[in-house]
């Protein structure tokens, strides 16, 4: 009998997804809360399962579906992130009466896609994981059926996402044609054996890499392929924006690692410059355009683009240090993003969800604690010590200086300073403007406070997260 332990988490998710789907069909409308708790219980159980069997799972060595430490740790991170996101989303969706169990189930499909991505060892499974994630994202963006904005955002994202998938596949087909294999390790070996650094001989790989990187740029939301990010953030419901801005970023980062680090590290000279260009354009566009935004979600969208630029800088250097910094940056960005969108999901403005920055004016007068939480996240996003955002940027700039990229380091510092302006503007609105709207809280939540205070805690003691990032990346650089 085959040993199924290596794929057990995926089996558990699929089974419970099917069972909850069937149970939900037979539940009365007022009992739908049961399926929500069942989903949360499944996720918790899965985390427990992974931690319990950590040693046993990571020692397994399966050829097509890796369960090394890297993938198991990332799976645990994704699961715990999703539990918190579901908790935030549930209250919001219930309050605005748009809750359906399908929303969470479709998110679970996305989670399954991300888990498959972390374990993928060949291009076929990687592609299927990416598609599972993308399809579930298309659907939850269009979930708010009554809003024209939402369906517009969905169709834009759909068309661009499908083009990106096409480009990815085109790149994969070229790689397949050039190397004759779709396994990541064999692709690596083939490129390593051919051993040529000459651009003319490698023009096939450069072509394939261009297509793949353009497509990943689309999926990541790096400029100049960022067009969908502001629209989708603006058009979809707040929980959807919360989900989009957090976990898929980790997933795309993992795809970058899998492809660039695991398969194409031999072609480092060719992809480094491409990524660097994307990174610099993203930082400029993100930071400059964010200044003129009045809509809070759009502003955060451009801030996302700028942050993605920073992550890409880390990727483009291609050393162990820089990848560690990029991992650290990704994880801390995801925590920050979950914090800010989490806070926003609990606030209603005249009975509606938060849209404009000016909606929050004078938040401090009636809800000083919420105002303080937003202050913390904004300071962290702006990169002000002693919060985690500061360490993320500092770490990256240190790596740049160590690799003697002084000009880029200077550029990153200047852009961070420019970026601080629009974050501080939010703080000004919250603390110094007059109250103009009736702000209510859906419920006051402990978890969102913990999530936000985590920024401060990790800012004061960043070493755990740094060590985790080092640990995760060490597997790729051991040889």
């Amino acid at each position: 009998m085959m040993n199924f332990l290596f794929i057990m988490p995926e089996i558990i998710i699929t089974t419970s997804m099917s069972v909850i789907l069937l149970i939900d069909l037979f539940l009365k409308k007022k009992n739908k809360i049961i399926s929500y708790y069942l989903i949360q219980f499944t996720l918790l159980f899965l985390i427990f399962f992974l931690i319990r069997n950590f040693e046993q799972i990571t020692s397994l060595n399966h050829q097509d579906f890796s369960t090394d430490i890297f993938s198991i740790v990332f799976k645990t991170i994704l699961l715990s992130g999703l539990i918190i996101i579901f908790y935030y989303s549930y209250n919001f969706l219930r309050y605005f009466k748009v809750y359906k169990t399908e929303y969470f189930l479709i998110c679970l499909f996305g989670l399954l896609g991300m888990m498959i991505i972390t374990s993928a060892q060949d291009l076929l499974i990687l592609y299927l994981g990416i598609e599972l994630l993308s399809l579930s994202l298309y659907s939850i963006i269009a979930y708010n059926k009554d809003s024209a904005f939402s369906s517009e955002a969905a169709i834009k994202y759909y068309v661009l996402g499908a083009i990106a998938s096409g480009f990815l596949l085109f790149g994969i087909s070229l790689i397949y044609g050039l190397t004759g294999t779709i396994s990541l390790n064999e692709v690596f070996q083939f490129i390593y054996d051919s051993g040529s650094r000459d651009a003319v001989q490698n023009v096939g790989y450069i072509f394939a890499l261009t297509f793949i990187i353009v497509s990943l740029g689309f999926k990541f939301g790096a400029a100049p392929f960022h067009m969908w990010i502001p629209d989708v953030y603006h058009g979809s419901l707040l929980p959807t924006t919360l989900l989009l801005s957090s976990l898929p970023k980790i997933a795309v980062f993992i795809i970058f690692i899998k492809l660039l680090l695991q398969a194409f590290i031999g072609l480092f000279h060719f992809w480094a410059d491409m990524i660097l260009i994307l990174a610099l354009i993203s930082i400029v566009i993100g930071n400059i355009i964010a200044i003129v935004q009045t809509n809070f979600k759009r502003m955060l969208a451009y801030s996302t683009i700028a942050n993605i630029g920073f992550i890409l800088i880390g990727i483009s250097l291609g050393t162990q240090e820089s990848f560690t910094a990029a991992t650290f940056y990704t994880l801390s960005y995801v925590i920050m993003s979950m914090a800010i969108f989490g806070i926003l999901t609990f606030i209603t403005i005249n009975g509606k969800a938060v849209e404009e920055i000016s909606d929050l004016s004078g938040l401090n007068e009636n809800h000083p604690w919420q105002a303080f939480l937003i202050l913390l996240t904004m300071l962290s996003l702006a990169g002000i010590p002693p919060l985690i955002g500061f360490h993320a940027k500092l770490f990256l700039i240190q790596v740049l200086v160590n690799s003697s990229y002084f000009i880029i380091a200077l550029f990153a510092v200047i852009m961070t300073v420019i970026g601080a302006y629009y974050y501080l503007r939010v703080i000004k609105v919250i603390y110094f403007d007059k109250v103009s709207t009736k702000i209510n809280l859906i419920i006051s939540s402990l978890i969102v406070s913990i999530n936000t205070l985590l920024l401060l805690y990790l800012g004061l003691f960043p070493y755990n997260l740094v060590n985790l990032s080092k640990f995760l990346m060490s597997g790729f650089f051991s040889t």
Partner: protein
């Protein structure tokens, strides 16, 4: 000129023609029909490249199901054709430019990189015999089982999300409910009021 080459040239020209027609016709129904034609031509060309099973699947699934879905949606949306005809010419130069650039780039690239057919890449797979479907099936159910199950999950996601998205909340169709009609009892319809009560 061999028969194979003749077939290739005929169907590839037809394929390019119908693909061009897909992107330049105004009417979505016509575009769908031309897409069917291009799928058909591709199926023939795939047959030439020893992909028998896939060429049948292409016709079965794409011509048989996906294009039907497209046509249903076209019919469902009832688009007013008169006001979508304009604005086409404005984008034609751009389209032509993109087409020429990319086509030239790709053709040059492919011609350079893949002109030599045998490039000493040895691939070993378990080939049972020269039956394409059997080989494909054997490979699918030995090496790619995980991918196969993931495909099933993707299909499930397709079902769930398309139903969630398209189903309307209130179904306001009026129809008879024979079951309820038969089970009506006297007490449901008749209320007997006693004479004394009525007088009060």
């Amino acid at each position: 000129m061999s028969t194979e080459l003749l077939i290739f040239i005929f169907f590839s020209l037809l394929l390019v023609f119908s693909a061009l027609k897909v992107i330049i016709v105004n009417n979505s129904v016509k575009a769908a029909i031309f897409l069917v034609l291009s799928f058909f031509c591709s199926a023939v060309l795939w047959l030439l490249m020893n992909a028998e099973f896939l060429s049948i699947i292409l016709i079965l699934v794409y011509v048989g199901a996906v294009m039907v879905l497209f046509l249903f949606v076209v019919m469902m949306l009832d688009i007013n054709l008169s006001n979508i005809k304009e604005k086409f010419v404005n984008y034609l130069p751009l389209g032509l430019f993109i087409f020429l650039v990319i086509a030239l780039l790709l053709i040059l690239f492919f011609d350079n990189q893949f002109s030599d057919v045998d490039r000493n890449i040895v691939t070993e797979i378990n080939i049972l015999n020269d039956n394409n479907t059997m080989n494909l099936g054997y490979l699918l159910f030995t090496e790619y089982i995980i991918a196969f199950e993931i495909a099933g999950i993707i299909l499930l996601l397709g079902i769930i999300s398309s139903i969630t998205l398209t189903q309307q909340k209130n179904n306001d169709n009026k129809y008879q409910a024979p079951h309820d009609q038969i089970n009506v009892t006297k007490s449901d319809r008749l209320k007997i009021i006693k004479d004394e009560e009525f007088r009060k």
